[in-house]
Structure formats: C-alpha cells, structure tokens
C-alpha cells in the first residue's frame, strides 16, 4: 500500500517515517511537499513530527494555513486514514480534524524518553484487536504534548471510545506518576468520531527496529496495512 508523508518546512520526522514504513514495513512511501496539492494513489497520510514553520506562535498554528491544508481535510473527510505524530497531532488539532489542543508540558521542559502506552480502545485502522496487544512501549519527544480539552469534550471522547492510547506505568497503571506531560486523563492518542484520523504524541516510527530499543511501533503500522490491504502485510512483520 502507499503511504504519503507530508513535509512542511521544519518537519524532521519525515525521513524516520519513510524508513520505518518502507524498510521495516515493506510498503511504498513517498513525501508530499506542502506546496503540492495533488497527491494521488495515497492510501494513508502521515503527518510527521517536527516544528512546522518553526512552530512560532503555537505548534501547528501556521501549518493550518498551509497550501496543502484543505487537501488534508478533504482526504480525511472521505474516510481515508490519517495519522498525525507529535507535531502532526498538533496540526490535526489546529485543523479541527481532532478536538482539543496540545499545551506546553506541565514540567515546562522538553521531554525525550520512553513511555508505556495502554491501548484503552481498539480501532480498526490504527489499533487492531487481532494482534492481541494491550500495551506498547513508544518514546515521546516534545515540549508541548499536554493534551487538553474541556470537560464535555473529554467525556465524549471517553464515552465514544475515541481515546486509543493513555500513558501508563510498566505495570499498566494509568496514574499521575506515569503521566510524562500532564495530559488530561493521561491521554497520549485519540481518534476523530469516525475513527479514521489518529493523533498521537509518541513516535511509533522510532521503534520499528529492535536495534533502536523496541519494535512496538510496528503494531500501529501493521494495523493500518491490515485495514487497507491485508495482503501487503509482510510475513516477517512481528504483528502478522
């Protein structure tokens, strides 16, 4: 299947995503430049991490006005899968494709570390149940990753099972000690109401190769491939 990786000036996880999806997952992957409005034959869009347009003003706030913005919205509204990682999550919130926003970490410092994630809800695109996973180890690397939304929105997210990942301890406990940035309800990743757009702060593309310390990122990419074109899922992939 074909992954398209959106590149803004200031994006820096673009090549990491490309390598994870192509070298580790064996799929086709190509860059989609922010000035390019035509992306055909793309099955899934990845909005990677970085500091799009320098993230001056507010993370993702300028990317919202990018040349490609309405095309991303159109692609998502057609029901195609979009995964926004880190800055990509922030951009999806700014585009109103996902509710809420990402505030500065409560520690007021950047954090780069491994985190444990509990899969609190399965999702047909990004967190499929047949892989029998209940938790993942995936690193974070952000200064503004504290998910915030008003109470009503949070209640809806919880009720509609739109929260996919929550930060947890190595024992799977979701509590304030296992929350690296002060996110409400330990939220690390959510989907939109139709379940085809995922935003997550942790970086799955950084853990698709055992030499880097883990391969749990493959779970998410395997889920996407399985949902779009199961025949393309590599036999060698851990999650087949």
């Amino acid at each position: 299947m074909n992954f398209g990786i959106v590149v803004y000036p200031g994006t820096w996880s673009d090549s990491d995503c490309l390598i994870a999806v192509s070298d580790q997952m064996g799929q086709n992957a190509s860059y989609v430049w922010h000035k390019n409005r035509n992306f055909n034959n793309i099955d899934c869009l990845i909005l990677p991490g970085g500091f799009s347009y320098g993230d001056y003003l507010r993370p993702g706030a300028i990317a919202r006005f990018s040349n490609i913005a309405d095309k991303i919205i159109e692609f998502g509204n057609l029901g195609n899968p979009i995964i926004g990682i880190c800055n990509g999550f922030q951009i999806l919130c700014e585009l109103d494709l996902l509710p809420g926003t990402l505030l500065k970490n409560d520690v007021m410092e950047f954090r780069c570390q491994w985190t444990n994630l509990k899969i609190v809800n399965h999702n047909q695109f990004f967190a499929r149940s047949e892989f029998q996973k209940s938790s993942l180890q995936i690193p974070i690397s952000h200064g503004s990753g504290r998910y915030y939304a008003d109470k009503k929105t949070i209640n809806e997210l919880e009720k509609n099972q739109q929260i996919i990942f929550k930060y947890c301890s190595s024992m799977g406990e979701v509590n304030s000690k296992s929350n690296p940035n002060g996110s409400i309800n330990n939220i690390a990743g959510i989907v939109n109401s139709t379940g085809n757009i995922l935003g997550m702060m942790p970086h799955p593309e950084r853990c698709c190769d055992s030499i880097l310390g883990g391969e749990d990122g493959k779970y998410i990419f395997s889920s996407i491939i399985k949902s779009i074109d199961p025949s393309k899922l590599l036999k060698t992939s851990t999650y087949h």
């Binding site: 000036p9 000035k35 500091f51 347009y53 993230d55 001056y56 410092e109 950047f110 690397s141 190769d209």
Partner: protein, 740 residues
C-alpha cells in the same frame, strides 16, 4: 578614495576604540605600516576582527602547529576548511568539530548556547555533510549560587530549544561544576556530519568570474564585535556587551540545512562557507584566500534587517543562519530554484576577481580595496611561559598526610554519588531529543553514545571528555588524560577511536602562568593523540576565560570519534547477569598509594583540596584499551565501564545501578580504603565476564602485557564491600538520581 576624504573620515585612534576591537597599539601601527596610511574605520574594523584571537588565533597558532595532520584517514588540511573530515570506509567521511561559545553564554545564556549549536551545525553542512549528531560539554560554577544556576538553566534551555527544533539528535555530553567557572561558564558544542567522499564541499572560490551568493537570514546589527570584543579579551562582567550576542532562529537554520544540502547535491556549488565570527568579512576572505584570487562585493545587495546600517555594521554583523556560496553564473537559475523551493532568500552580492584583493562597494561607491594577504597576515605571538611556583607546591603536596575520611565508606560513597559532578545527568539530557533520525543505538547517559549507519553493520561512537582539575595540577598530563579518557570511553563500549576534535578553553594568555598551561596542555594532547593514533582533525581555541577573581582552570575538551566494524559487538556500562566475575583491567591489585587521590573528586568534596600530581602512562593506556576492545570483539565481555571521576567504587556502583544488579567483592580492600576505593589513577576499566571465559581473557591480557585482577562477583540486590558496606542497589540509585 581620495587622500582628502581619508583624512576626513579617519579619526585619531583612541585607546577605547582599540579596546573595542581588541587591537593593540602596536598592531595598529603595523596596520598603518602595511597600508602606508591610517586605516578608515571600515578598514580598521575588518583588520580588527580578522586579527582577533577568535578568527586569527594570534596567540595560539604557533602552539597549534604541533598537531600533525598527515594521518592517512584525514581528508582535510588543518584550519583550511570549516571542520575536519576523516575517512570511515565505504566511501563515507565523517565531518566533525567542537567549538566554544563561552563568552556569549556568560552574558546571555539562552541565546549564547543556542547560537553555539547553530554555528557549529553550519560548519558541518557547509562541507556538504548531513548533520547527524550533536554533543556538548558544559561547565558551571557551584550550582548553589543563583547566578550559576541561572546560567546553567539558560544554557540547557538554549541547547534544548535550538537543537530540538532542527531535528538533529543530541546524543551525549558532559556537565561539571567547579568554583573556577563562577560567572564564566564553559559552553562547548560539537556537531558531527556524514557525507559521501565525492560530495565534500570546500571553502573555496574557484576561479575569477564566479558569483558570490549570500543565503539565509537578513543581516542585522546583532553580534557586531562578537569575535573581537567579546571572544578575544577579558569581559569584566560587562552586561553592556549584551547586544554583541547574536540571536538564533532554528527554523531558518533547518531550512538553510535542507536548501544548502540540496544545492550541493545538484553538483553546482563550487565552494561554501558559513558566516560565523566576524560575519561577511571573515567568510569572504576565507573563501578566496586559498585560491590567490580576490572578490568584489556590493553591500547594497545584502538584505538588511534594519534600516540605515553602515558598511561597517554590514561587514561585521554576526547575524545567524547565513551562508555564502560560490557558483558559476550559468548555474544561477537552477540554484535560485532550489532556494525558492525552501523559501530561503538569496542575493548575488558579488563576484570573484583575478586581482587578489578584497573590494567592497556600496552601489557605485568604492569603500575598500585591500590586498587579501595584508588582511590575513595576522601577527602571531608567543608569550613567555614559566612554571608557576604554586604549581610545584600543589604537585608536591603530601597526600599521604590526608587523614582517612571521618565519614564511613558507605556514607562517603552515597555522598559522592549524589554530588552534582557524579550524579545522573538525566535531568539534563531528557530535555534533548536524542532519538530523531532513528540512528541512536546508545544515547546519552553512557560512557559513549553509538549511532548506526543505516544499511551497514558499522557503528559510530562518540564521547566528550576533559578534566580541568587534572590539567590545573599537571597541564601536560591533564591534556593527555583528556584524550585518553575520551578514547577510553569509546573503547569500553567496543569502538576503536579514530579521530578527535579539541576545544581549548583557557584564561588570559598574556599571563605567563596561563600561557604555560596552554602550551603544556597542547603538548599533552598532541603526545596522546600520536600515541593513541587519533589525529586532531579540527578544533577551536577560547582564551580570556576568567571572572573578577581569577582565570579558569585550564579546560581542554576532547570530542572523540570511534568505529565499530560490527555494531552488534557492543557492550553497555551496567552489570548484566548474576554470578559473573568482575575484573579490574589495568591493575593487579587495589591501589594502596596516596598519589591516587591527586585531583580526585573525593579530595575536593571532603577536604576542599585540589592537590597532587595526576599522571598517565600512555603505553599502558593504549594496551588497556586494546585489551578491552579485543575482549569485546571476541564476545566475552558482558559489561564494561570506564573507571574515572569518583574512582573504583563509584564505577562499581554505577554498573550496579545501570544494570540493577548487585556486587560483592572478593579482593582484599586495603586499610586505607580511601586510596583504593576513591583514588582516580588512570588507565583502568571495570568489566564483567562469565566464569568460563576467564582463560581466554587472561590470554588477551598476557598478549598485551596488561595487569588485571578479579575484584568480585555480580549478583544480589546490594553492593557489598567486605564488612565496610552493604547498600541496596535501590538506595544507590536514589542517591545517584539526585538533582543538583
């Protein structure tokens, strides 16, 4: 310019004006002699910055000649390029350099440190290399002092903000505190890039008739006199110099990296040079000086950030994120297209000319026309040196008269583990993205970091090191130890050291004591570099580091590069298994000699003394490192850790904490446990090995005639030393994880 005009604009030179430019009266007289007249203010500004210590190395150049650069792996000539390059095989080269930003960081820590990162990255990608890693080495005064804490927090956030924003992993570094750095922090940043050999770009202008293009940020009034005023003389804590500190824009830097590398990939770039110290002046002169040609530029074509800037300001501005490059006029359209794609402004500011002159115009008006070789004929100085009297006294101090610590050995250990110089630095490195680019196999917090090279079996290892207490007590041996330790850090993880870069941070060179330190340290570095077969491929000198009271301790920092032919043959610092044998490589018993306390953390912390005479035997060092690497390559080492700051027991405790595994000694501990457990003699590595591999290990040691001894076994939940201590590993970890 007519004679009349000259007289009109040439003011009588005052002592204050000379100080602003860090030029001496005799240097001024030399300029007058070279020109046959008094210089215009623009000319004087250009001379001043090019002749500054920061650009011209006028105080250190004669000493630096000692570094040999004819090693077969080295691809660059000393100081001709923006950074040093070394061949790593597979048609690849590693480009690296370490640089200081001490003075700017003392005045404005966040921007000072941020622009340290920005500047060193430009040195790397201007050579066509893709930056793949950042490292740093930081020194501050006592963290209990609010001013030092302000400087530390500012510097760390500057590195974090800038580095994280551009997506280059910050994979390692050092942090050290000492009163000597009160108000004068050391901020050294290192960048590493990788390039296929044929894509390496030079700092050259080629032939006459080429276009000179300025790319990147606009030019403002920031950083004027950064090179001369700020970096090349004592600062006297002068806050009015704050405008001489540049302000960084990491987003522009990121776009500049991508656009410049894409331009280089097109094959149309003849030469490239970043604008660093002394801005446009130094960049243009550097570009043409090797080719025996000249340049003609028009300052009205420089994009300005502020209105009505004078030619003087434009030529000396140190605005960040700017690059100049040289292309053939026929390639202008293609190059313009690349920079337009990235929304990076470029301007053709001039061209190369056959006459070897620097010619500067403002539209039609010629402002300056000087032979390049007068500008680059920087005077060099060798100051008198003398071995300071206090040094002999300190070296001869009777360490054996130091009474044993009144604290118990257990309390001594816990207190050292919690001290800012030894405790975990996670509170710092968790603020840096150390994983982006997905090459980081071992990140910060280890003796050395390891990066993979994708689609190969090769690993690259990096460390930075330097112990100023040793250099203060013995500049020659201290310099050699800095090289040895940086390389030992690589050897303990299984990498073969292949090259180093150095940053020499010293006090006022006009003081004979300081010049002695500088000369001896350089000599020590050079000796160790030859012995350990690690050429010095690049470097930087920062002088005049002092506060109101005194000069800083001599602080050479070494950044080292190592190679793992097979990245799978790597080991880490923590104990891995229970019931493994723990071995000390480099000694046949635990030391009972008082001299091991020389310059130790123990002596400083508990007695407030920095005394003794640290020594290193480089033949032994080479053999110890070779044994460690050979054993790792044969797959018989489970863990290895450099025995350095804090001594043997701190080394063992760290291996326990990192591996979450206990240790029990089997070797006898001498009565003077302080000498044995907390002494810091060199050339020692602690490894753990499976029992069955001891015979093979012994054979390797015999081959290289290296002493060793079994000191204990791994296992359990506590660190047990005879009847002296039995401390749970969890308690060690708690102490070690203390924030300063």
């Amino acid at each position: 310019m007519t004679k009349k005009q000259q007289n009109k604009i040439t003011p009588k030179i005052s002592a204050a004006d000379l100080k602003k430019l860090a030029i001496t009266q005799s240097e001024y007289n030399q300029i007058v002699e070279l020109l046959g007249r008094t210089p215009s203010p623009l000319e004087l500004g250009i001379f001043g910055s090019l002749w500054s210590e920061h650009c011209g190395y006028k105080h250190s150049k004669p000493l630096l000649k000692i570094f040999k650069n004819n090693h077969p792996r080295v691809l660059t000539n000393e100081s001709e390029e923006n950074a040093g390059a070394v061949d790593i095989g597979n048609n690849l080269a590693i480009v690296m350099k370490i640089e200081s930003h001490n003075h700017p960081s003392a005045i404005e820590p966040t921007e000072g440190a941020a622009t340290a990162i920005g500047g060193i990255i430009r040195d790397i990608f201007s050579m066509g290399a893709r930056p793949i890693a950042l490292l740093n080495s930081l020194r501050f005064g006592n963290p209990d002092n609010p001013k030092n804490r302000y400087l530390m927090n500012g510097v760390i956030s500057g590195i974090s903000n800038y580095g994280n924003c551009i997506g280059i992993p910050n994979i390692g570094g050092e942090l050290f505190f000492s009163k000597t750095y009160d108000k004068n922090p050391i901020v050294n940043a290192m960048c590493v890039g990788i390039v296929t050999k044929q894509d390496m770009t030079k700092s050259t202008a080629g032939t006459p008739g080429n276009l000179i293009i300025l790319a990147g940020s606009t030019t403002g009034r920031d950083g004027i006199h950064g090179a001369s005023g700020l970096a090349s003389q004592n600062m006297d804590g002068d806050d009015t110099l704050r405008p001489a500190v540049q302000v960084g824009n990491p987003f522009m830097e990121k776009k500049l990296i991508e656009s410049c590398l894409e331009a280089i990939q097109s094959g149309k770039i003849i030469g490239m040079q970043d604008l660093g110290a002394a801005g446009l002046t130094s960049a243009t002169v550097d570009l043409v000086s090797k080719d025996n040609i000249g340049f003609k530029i028009d300052l009205s074509r420089v994009f300005l950030r502020e209105e009505s800037m004078t030619p003087y300001e434009i030529m000396l501005s140190e605005s960040q994120e700017r690059m100049i490059m040289v292309i053939n006029p026929t390639d202008l359209i293609e190059i313009t297209g690349i920079f337009e794609k990235w929304d990076v402004d470029i301007s053709v500011i001039g061209e190369t000319i056959p006459q070897p002159n620097a010619v500067i115009y403002d539209k039609k008006e010629k402002l300056l026309d000087l032979p390049i070789n007068t500008l680059t004929s920087t005077p060099t100085y060798q100051f008198p040196t003398r071995k300071p009297k206090w040094l002999t006294k300190n070296q001869e101090y009777k360490l054996k008269n130091i009474p044993i610590n009144s604290k118990s050995p257990a309390k001594t250990l816990l207190s050292l583990l919690a001290s800012p110089n030894i405790s975990s630095k996670k509170h710092v490195y968790q603020q840096y993205d150390h994983q982006v680019l997905t090459n980081t196999v071992i990140g910060p917090g280890s003796d050395a970091a390891i990066l993979r090279i994708k689609n190969t079996k090769t690993g690259l290892a990096f460390s930075t090191d330097g112990n100023s207490k040793y250099c203060y007590l013995n500049p020659f041996h201290g310099g050699a130890i800095a090289v040895a330790e940086a390389c030992r850090n690589l050897s303990t993880i299984g990498a073969t050291p292949i090259a180093i870069t150095d940053c020499l941070n010293f006090g006022n060179p006009e003081d004979p004591d300081i010049y002695y330190q500088l000369k001896k340290c350089i000599s020590g570095i050079s000796t160790a570099s030859n012995k350990l077969n690690v050429p010095v491929i690049s470097g930087n000198v920062s002088l005049y580091n002092a506060n109101e009271e005194d000069n800083i301790f001599p602080t050479p920092i070494i950044g080292a590069l190592g190679i793992l032919d097979n990245i799978n043959n790597r080991v880490t610092n923590g104990f891995k298994n229970n019931n493994s044998i723990v071995i000390l490589i480099g000694d046949s018993k635990i030391s009972q000699i008082s001299s091991s306390l020389a310059g130790s953390e123990y002596l400083d912390k508990f007695y407030g003394k920095i005394m003794g005479n640290p020594q290193i035997n480089l033949d032994k060092e080479l053999a110890v490192q070779t044994v460690c690497r050979s054993a790792i390559q044969r797959g018989i080492i489970e863990s290895a850790h450099d025995c350095s700051d804090g001594g043997l027991l701190v080394c063992l405790a760290e291996s326990c904490i990192i591996g979450n595994t206990g240790f029990r000694n089997t070797i006898q501990i001498p009565k003077r446990w302080d000498f044995g457990l907390f002494g810091e003699q060199q050339s020692r590595i602690v490894v753990s090995i499976n029992k069955k591999d001891i015979t093979e290990f012994e054979k390797i040691c015999n081959d290289f005639q290296v002493n060793w001894c079994t000191i204990g076994t791994t296992g359990g939940d506590s660190l047990t030393i005879s009847s002296l201590m039995d401390i749970p590993v969890s308690q060690l970890a708690e102490a070690w994880k203390t924030h300063p």
